[in-house]
Amino acid sequence: MQDYVLQARDLDILIQVVRAEGFEVMGPVLRDNAIVYDAISTAADLPQGWTDEQEKGTYRVKRRNDGAYFGYAVGPHSWKKFLQLPHRQVWKARSNNSGIQVAEIVDEAPQLAFLGVRSCEMHAIAIQDRVFVDGEYQNDSYTRRRSNIFMVSVNCTSAAASCFCTSMDTGPRVTLPCDLEMTEVIEGETHYFLVGSESYRGARVLQQLPVVPSTQEHEAKAERAVQNAVRQMEKGPRNFDSTDLKELLYRNYESPSWDRVAERCLSCANCTMACPTCFCSTVEDTTDLSGTYAERWERWDSCFTADFTYITGGAVRPDTRTRYRQWMTHKLATWHDQFGSSGCVGCGRCITWCPVGIDLTEEVRKIRELEKINREGP
């Protein structure tokens, strides 16, 4: 892939060209003291000069001492809200003298461009693709929306303390296909993006930008920036070996560790809402006051809710112990058997947005340690 250099001051041209190609651009914006994804119309909408500080149960945006556009890690939102809508109507039905008629609601799939998709997030989208598109049955709304996306990815050049994509083999370098791939480089007075295109649509956009072919020096600087993120994570507290996670968790369904985490977990479902791969949904059926018009809506659901497993006689998972065990074991173990990969991309959102600071990587470590103690004695 031939890379090009786009000066940072020309980033807005990229946004305008993508818009002119017919896409509504979604990207990071600073709102309510968090960097979230929403519609943007110019580069001025981006959180330039802001970063995020994350730890378990903690998220703060902070000023950077430079003008980086993508100088943060990930916020509470993920791109899934544009693909698997949090709330959508599935069908409408009427009942009258001639019987029941049910009509599917085909929601319009807008032409969206995602600006600033991280490698972990691309993996998350690929994981949801395997759930919603590649199986025997499709989520039609997701499938239509997904096929329209123009994807502009960004290589991570700094990691939050909550990040562990290197442990999950999902980043920080972008390896999955996208339309445009960018690396932001700031060194002293120089501030540019190394840009490459991987699709016909991406090449078309690239052609319209004031870019110059990159030199080895440009590329070396970009590589150094990405390696910076790798180093941060490898030295960080959440670096761990994930290769045997499935076997570890399959052996430990009855670990006392689940009782301990249940004492802290609030079953609040925050982790499942913030997770970019959690895909569970439920449905709501309603009628109007006349009782002749009915609707069905689908909305995000969480395996932490009490009625998630309700069948005659009560909830199959009646307590926090079994619900946390389900969530974590699904994410890290059973997902492999269901969809051929882990369900975790190491983005750290579940750690940051847990109100009591439960850390998935820490819980894995505890299970491993307890197993070792039980086997070998303390």
């Binding site: 049910v102 919603f132 449905v283 005659t312 199959v316």
Partner: protein, 268 residues
């Protein structure tokens, strides 16, 4: 996926709170279903519930579902009268492996409304579509009057030998009293040549499987039907996950050999 509209042709109360609906497709041909599969039944405005198919007549084309009222949706289905309509999505899931019974002794073990998904197995034996060397049906229920298909059970004798047990009965009751595993244990099961289809409460299935294994029935010849909360029936909503499996698409009928370790885990 939206429901197809079906019309209730016949409605029969099995016993209070439990009823059987025979339905015809409002438009087009009725779907073909395998014994053991299920449909999502939609009561207008109230919602959907997964219900096993208790019959799919080849001749009359009627789809049969037997339902026990437990919640809002089943209560709404219970209120429907003959001539009224409901929605049907399906059929979904993997059914009973009838082909495997051809050269074996087929042992059907059902508890309560668990007989409903096994009724199509009996009918396929009766009309010659399915074959087994010989078939025994062990049916356990709470009381004699809380048995499903009471008026058909005697006719089934042409294809199956029937052993019944109830928890409570007065002295008129000719069958066993107590849990169904009692008579099952007392019977002579030709273990290695038996294939077993089991459906009922999980506790009852657990004990039945124990008896089967003790009688030498291989784990690979025991099949059971599982129940979990379901919203979509297509593997997308996540509700029916059971370890690495989705009850809706990998089940509801599973081979015990495949799920043995998972079946032992409580609160999975």
């Amino acid at each position: 996926m939206i429901p197809r509209v079906y019309r209730i042709e016949h409605r029969r109360e099995e016993y209070p709170g439990t009823f059987t609906l025979e339905m015809s497709a409002d438009r087009g041909r009725p779907v073909t279903c395998d014994p053991g599969q299920f449909n999502m039944l939609y009561a207008f405005g109230a919602g959907e519930v997964p219900i096993s198919i208790s019959g799919a007549g080849r001749r009359d084309g009627l789809l049969v579902h037997t339902i026990r009222t437990q919640g809002l949706v089943t209560a709404a289905l219970e209120r429907l009268k003959e001539g009224e309509q409901l929605g049907v999505r399906g059929p979904f899931g993997q059914g009973w492996p009838l082909d495997l019974a051809r050269d074996s002794d087929l042992l059907i073990i059902a508890g309560g409304v668990g007989l409903a998904p096994l009724r199509p197995v009996v009918y396929s034996l009766l009309d010659g579509r399915g074959r087994a060397r010989r078939t025994q049906l062990y049916y356990g229920a709470r009381r004699p009057e809380e048995r499903l298909f009471r008026h058909e059970l005697n006719q089934w004798g042409r294809a199956v030998s029937l052993v019944q047990s109830v928890d409570h009965a007065d002295s008129d009751w000719p069958g066993h009293i107590g849990v169904i595993t009692g008579p099952l244990q007392a019977s002579r099961i030709n273990g290695p040549e038996t294939i077993a289809f089991v459906c009922g409460p999980e506790l009852m299935m657990r004990f039945s499987i124990r008896v089967l294994l003790e009688s030498g029935v291989p784990a690979s010849a025991i099949f059971l039907s599982m129940e979990r909360n379901m919203k979509c029936a297509t593997g997308l909503c996540g509700h029916c996950q059971w370890g690495p499996r989705f009850i809706c698409k990998d089940g509801p009928v599973f081979c015990y050999k495949d799920i043995q370790p998972w079946f032992q885990i409580r609160g999975l």
